[in-house]
């Protein structure tokens, strides 16, 4: 598996569903909704993420790993045993579908870092991030594509329907779901390149090409992130990890970094807010996501939708009772929720932040 190819470019459709009361929904909904937007992809990538997926092992990191060959699996598992307590190992269940003739080996591991590995104030999350960076850049043929707790990602090269069928998505339940159909333009499609893209329990689905990728990447590298996959989406995941988990910004403030308000609008703010916004832009200008995007990111506490600051990509949000839907197209929401209480298009750069109720 060669990760070091040209930067990935892709168009896409995306869907997110969250039940604020943590009522779990079956995977058939997200599948049905996403399939309606089949034409936003080109059959070369689709995927799903779900939260609330593994309630019985919710305090373990669920590592989903794909392998090119048994050697890479052996290398990874050796590495894993040296560094983690492994609670459970299993193959990710799949079902044959016509379009998928070759797939990587797909395994999942429920693990916790060995206590003794956490030196120098390192948290378990830090350790897992380091593992993901290390494995994906150093163990040839092994790729960790999901590393959160009580959540998981399923993705590969095909269209949404067949990826859903292949991974038996309808057999899973979750209180947050995201889905993605992909239109890569320059690669034959690589399983790891499909979305959602994750790190810990951040999962990103994303539409559009981030034109600022070059500097976003170099900025993150300064903070120890290894950007091995050359996809925009990887940048988003690591930026959120840095801003929110490492630097302690809250989600709405982090969104002001990703889609910074224009200077002319900052000038109109009152002094205190102007200072804060100016400082944010000065400090995190290199993390500004520039160019067209709409993206959804799931995390352990909720779901966020946001698009770029001049709204070059679509995003529609709808609510029905405790459920909030976010999508590239309203029709894909209406496919599973014919009569929403409310449906609207958020303004450019204005995040829609939905949090789970405790």
């Amino acid at each position: 598996m060669n990760h070091n190819y040209e930067k990935d470019i892709s168009g896409c459709g995306l869907i997110g569903i969250i039940n604020k009361k943590k009522q779990r929904l079956g995977g058939e909904f997200v599948k049905k909704s996403l399939c309606l937007m089949n034409d936003r992809g080109n059959g070369l990538g689709a995927g799903f993420a779900a939260y609330g997926l593994y309630p019985e092992l919710s305090d373990h990191y669920a590592l989903h790993v794909m392998y090119d060959d048994p050697t890479s699996q052996r290398d990874f598992e050796e590495f894993l045993k040296e560094n983690y307590d492994v609670e459970k190992i299993e193959e990710i269940p799949t079902k044959p579908v016509p379009s998928i003739t070759i797939s990587p080996l797909l395994m999942r591991y429920f693990v916790k870092p060995h206590k003794k590995m956490l030196v120098g104030g390192m948290t378990e999350d830090d350790f897992v991030v380091r593992t993901v960076m290390q494995v994906n850049s150093e163990i040839a043929g092994a790729y960790v594509f999901s590393s959160g707790k009580n959540m998981g990602v399923f993705k590969g090269v095909s269209n949404p329907r067949e990826i859903a069928d292949f991974f038996r998505i309808e057999e899973y339940e979750g209180y947050i779901w995201t889905g993605h159909t992909r239109f890569p333009t320059n690669t034959p499609g690589w399983w790891g390149g499909a979305h959602p893209f994750t790190l810990l329990d951040w999962s990103i689905v994303h539409n559009g090409e981030i034109s600022s990728y070059g500097i976003n990447k170099r900025y993150l590298e300064m903070y120890g992130y290894k950007l091995t996959l050359l996809t925009d989406t990887e940048v988003v995941a690591y930026t959120l990890d840095l801003l929110i988990r490492k630097h302690g910004l809250d989600i709405s403030t982090a969104c002001k970094v990703l889609a910074a308000p224009f200077w002319k609008d900052v000038e109109r703010m009152d002094e205190g807010e102007k200072d804060a916004m100016t400082a944010l832009r000065m400090t995190y200008g290199s993390a500004l996501l520039n160019g067209p995007f709409s993206l959804l990111f799931g995390h352990r506490k909720g779901l966020v939708g946001i698009n770029d600051r001049i709204k070059l990509r679509p995003l529609v949000v709808a609510t029905k009772g405790d459920v909030v839907f976010m999508s590239s197209e309203e029709s894909s929401i209406r496919e599973i929720c014919p009569k929403p209480d409310r449906a609207w298009a958020p303004r450019a750069g204005e995040p829609v932040i939905v949090e789970l109720e405790d």
Partner: protein
Amino acid sequence: MFNSLAPPEYLATIDTDKCIRCKRCIQNCGWSTYSWGGDRVLIETTKCVKCLRCYHYCPVEAIDILDNATRFKSNANWSYMNIRNIKRQAETGGMPITGMGSDLPYPVLFDHLLLDACQVTNPSIDPLREPMELRTYLGKKPSKLEVEKTPDGKLKLKTEMPPQLKLELPFTFSPMSFGSISLNAQKVLAMAAKECGIVMNTGEGGLHEDLLPYKDHIMVQVASGRFGVNPDYLNAGVACEIKIGQGAKPGIGGHLPGEKIPLQVAKTRMIPVGTDALSPAPQHDIYSIEDLRQLIYAIKEATNYKPVSIKIATVHNVAPIVSGIVRAGADIVYLDGFRGGTGAAPNIIRDHLGIPIEHALAAVDDRLRQEGIRNEASIIAAGGIRSSADAAKAIALGADAVAMGTAALVTMGCTVCGKCYTGNCSWGITTQRPELTVRLDPEIFAERLINLIRAWSHELQEILGALGVNAIESLRGSRERLRGVGLDEQTLDILGVKPAGR
């Protein structure tokens, strides 16, 4: 007639049929190339520097300045300047000196880099109609920020921000002192800086009181000669710069001859009229990096912590040097590349010491990122920025802003003749002779400089638009948007740029 065995470089010629004997050429030439012969204009062509002042002011287009065809036999190895300099050295025992940046044909990497543009997968942005932000803040940035929310949900900053220099555009003017250039030339820079929301730099010659109305757009410079430096001076501008070196003459000091020190220059520099103004190469309170730190903080203490810039020439070890400068507390590092301009430098130094800005910038930006301190200081790139394309490429390589010196002078009439050191500039730029400086009307030429800055800004916005981004931050350091053409693998590696086609 020739007092030297080096034949003149140019032949000034007047078509006597066309000439109407108006004598404007005689009045205009600062080098006394022309004189009146009773019935016609006499020409002393050895004095001609091809500044084209006479050519532009001849009402009948009678003047032609030709390259002297009978210089020496052409020789690819022994150039005119090689032979000419030997002859001059033999005749005088002196070092040939020159003005402006090196004119030798070293490869210019900017000319081997191409910028990206969007097609289909991401849209280009129309900069004429959509927002396109060029604002740049120079200074130390924290690596992370603490903010809190007020009860009404507004953001409130908790981190104390280091001082910043605000530029509406990612441009500054290079330091050029009063003395090396005229006060009118400095006024042009100051007026344009104010109008464009950027800064000019006093250079090391002190701050003339006429510039005080522009102080919010002035960076004051402290060099080894300490000309005109006192607490008022340090506090007069928005930032202070310590000059360590200059791209055109790294490791070499300055020497402003007494002839260029009339009363106003003397007063501004706080030295006696007519004495030579000597700036030794090193600052004699800086023999090591910890000494630099001491001076930086001495200035910060004196100015209640205004941003401090350190200007250095880009030399071979520029990356670790800048790392040290940043760790010593600089807020801004001004990198002056090998091709940077000068009012006077020995040819041998200008043409053979240092490294180009492109290599230096790439190496410095990489080094600071590797050390995790790129946020600790901003970088100004200088030394051969000839167009907005050079500016864009420098920014993509990692500069926060670029400085323009020669380009700004060209708007004032400069033709890059390179005779700045003579003090005879016919355009009134690098001279203190009042009959010459009066030619440079600050109002008129500020307008031209403003035009240039606006045009470059528009061009920069068009470039950003084509790149599909609407903020300069998204180009800064984004080497992914550059491709090399005709560069070897190692150079590409140093620049961190892929070859075109990859």
